[in-house]
Symmetry: C2
Subunit: 398 residues, 2 copies
């Protein structure tokens, strides 16, 4: 196995363990641990139905401090009632005992099947074991441990210079199914040694998340478990980044956004059963809000996604999906491109299907739609829809 | 081929013709003709991008009178600019010349590929030919002529008694792909010999449409060409049904709704690649509006649709889809049934997967969700999502 290269921030240790949460034979528990107390920030699913670990984290993140993240794959601990909440607390308790830190500074994340209670006794002892051997694994091992239907581990990192100090950001994610504009069944953990205040970290995360995970869609469904957590432990020793800081704040936010964007692209490329990625770029909208609604409508259309899969330059589906988005535009001014091939000019075909079909063979198909109503633009990442998606999701639990 | 039985209203004649709109080898033009001037009513796509025939019909339906409907399959005459509008007018002109009726009383409907101009010269002479031999076909032949990816013709009829007279309603439809709550790529023509005023007919159609075509979903996409047109020629000789008529108005509206509902069910069963139908019944919502939003969210979820295809009682996907609908509820009071098998009671599993899996083998899978928030209910019809859907739509134009 060729290892993937990434930078690791100071002061973080990783452990993994095999708890046979769903079935034996793989590491399915990961613990991320900061040797010093870190500033913590998070964004979570907007689904009304929230999994137990999400409910717990939403409370704990208010404290703004974090030492560890305990995650498992194989079971989402969602729709599990009071027992689910108790189990999530137990997971954090196991780690806090062994790592000697407050339970309230341990965050929990679970991903997998909904509605089945966790095998908590087995997990409890495995979490203790992992915490006891803290440092037994790499961040890439953790990225593997949180995979469900993902076909490859997702990791990205960046290094920046803030006030003369090297600051590192590293992050892992899992995605695959149920991904939708509001970042569904997606876990992402970000580790950084930046010194940054809670306010500044919250602002950077919300902004970076809006331009990355909230701009991808796989199947329009949204999970009960979406979680992005950042721990910033300050060990880089940079001058603390504060809310409103022009220079260092922007440098940090850009680097964070870039790391999250790279993970978002990996998630889309690994969309369940996807054969290629699809980038919908809307130009000439009246506002960025309109642009993102139009881009999402096109990127979510099953008919557009199947046409991309079939290399069919069926631009009628693109304009029909836009017309259904609830945003006003004039169909007679619309231009559409598949890659570099213009297929529609001012609402009419350019009879360019052969060139367009070639463009549709790319690994990432770019669909550009210019509405010529204004100057705003937006981009949404998606993937095609294949027979393989159906197979994976019709047989997920069997 | 065994013929399908249906009642035919008085005073309607049908012709079909082969115009090789997309390719030769099948009847692809249908004309429906009333021997006397009929009251006309219609509902059309709410997609911002409307095909030329739809734009024409929306203008003409305001006159409230109709003599004929000319429909073709193989080409939607959508996104075809000024030429498309002229072509739609030419189609109506051909029929009006030969049938000796005002052009403004001829409605046009087209279905098929978007963005390609019609082969209008060939179609013009074939429409003239069909009109000249008016009565050369049956309504079932017309149902076949308007098919695109449909696998069977869709026809339904009803007979009712109004003021001592037998009144007949017969209707044909085409559906298959792109069907969504707001009745996408769907054509439906309703013929009745009822005597009814324009106002009463409009009211009956809007109500019947809301409870039938607007409560089905195949893939969430919506076409540029959706059209439902009713012609009521009065030849049954009943006492005219007027707006506000209690008895006869209700009898007519119910019969119309029943006919449209039967067609809607056929459309869902014939959803592209569908292996079975899916009925989502939401109970205990605070309002009918909430109930229908929740039912649509569940019925549209790709993950629910693939689970139904795979006979996987994955109720977590049902509750996650509901939680994403934007309607407030308490996850801890929700009950879920697959067929007669209760799988969730008050938000928790009943461990009833084996019984539920059996229920998922039905031709029509009924998913009932009781939110216990109020007394309102709603039902949405859908179908499962299979590999075959992908195949059909990835290769539609090839």
């Amino acid at each position: 196995m060729s290892e993937i290269e990434y930078h690791m921030p100071e002061g973080f240790l990783i452990s993994t363990a095999e708890a046979a949460v769903k079935k034996p034979g793989r590491k399915d528990i990961a613990i991320i641990y900061s040797t010093v107390c870190a500033v913590a920030s998070g964004v979570f699913t907007t689904n009304l139905v929230k999994a137990a670990p999400v409910l717990l984290d939403i409370e704990r993140i208010k404290g703004g401090k974090g030492r560890a993240i305990v995650a498992n794959s194989g079971n989402a601990n969602a729709c599990t009632g009071m027992r689910g909440l108790k189990d999530a607390v137990k997971m954090s308790l196991a780690a806090s005992i062994e790592l000697d830190c407050p339970e309230t500074e341990v965050f929990i994340a679970s991903t997998g099947v909904i509605g089945t209670p966790l095998p908590i006794d087995r997990m409890f002892s495995k979490i203790i074991e992992a915490a006891r051997t803290m440092g037994n694994s790499t961040l890439l091992d953790a990225a593997r441990a949180i995979m469900t239907t993902d076909s490859f581990p997702k990791i990205a990192s960046a290094q920046i210079n803030i006030s003369g100090k090297a600051v590192t950001i590293a992050a892992i994610a899992k995605g695959a199914g149920m991904i939708c504009p509001n970042m569904a069944t997606m876990l992402c953990f970000v580790l950084t040694d930046a010194s940054i205040t809670k306010d500044a970290l919250d602002e950077a995360l919300i902004s970076a998340n809006d331009y990355s995970f909230n701009r991808i869609t796989v199947d329009g469904d949204m999970s009960t478990n979406d979680t992005v957590i950042v721990l910033a432990n300050g060990l880089a020793g940079n001058a603390p980044i504060r809310s409103g800081n022009r220079n260092s704040g922007i440098v940090f936010r850009k680097a964070l956004a870039e790391v999250l964007m790279r993970l978002a692209e990996m998630i889309v490329k690994d969309g369940e059963g996807a054969s290629k990625a699809m980038k919908v770029l809307v130009k000439g909208a009246k506002s960025e809000h309109d642009a993102s609604i139009l881009a999402r409508a096109i990127a979510s259309s099953l008919l557009v996604k199947t046409a991309v899969y079939g290399c069919d330059a069926n631009w009628g589906r693109v304009i029909a999906a836009a017309g259904h988005a609830g945003v006003d535009f004039d169909p007679n001014t619309v231009d559409i491109f598949f890659g570099s091939a213009m297929v529609v000019k001012n609402g009419l075909t350019t009879n360019n299907d052969a060139e367009a079909a070639l463009q549709l063979k790319a690994d990432t198909v770019v669909i550009t739609v210019n509405f010529k109503m204004g100057r705003a633009s937006a981009q949404v990442l998606s993937c095609d829809l294949t027979e393989e998606y159906i197979k994976i999701n019709a047989e997920y639990r069997t």
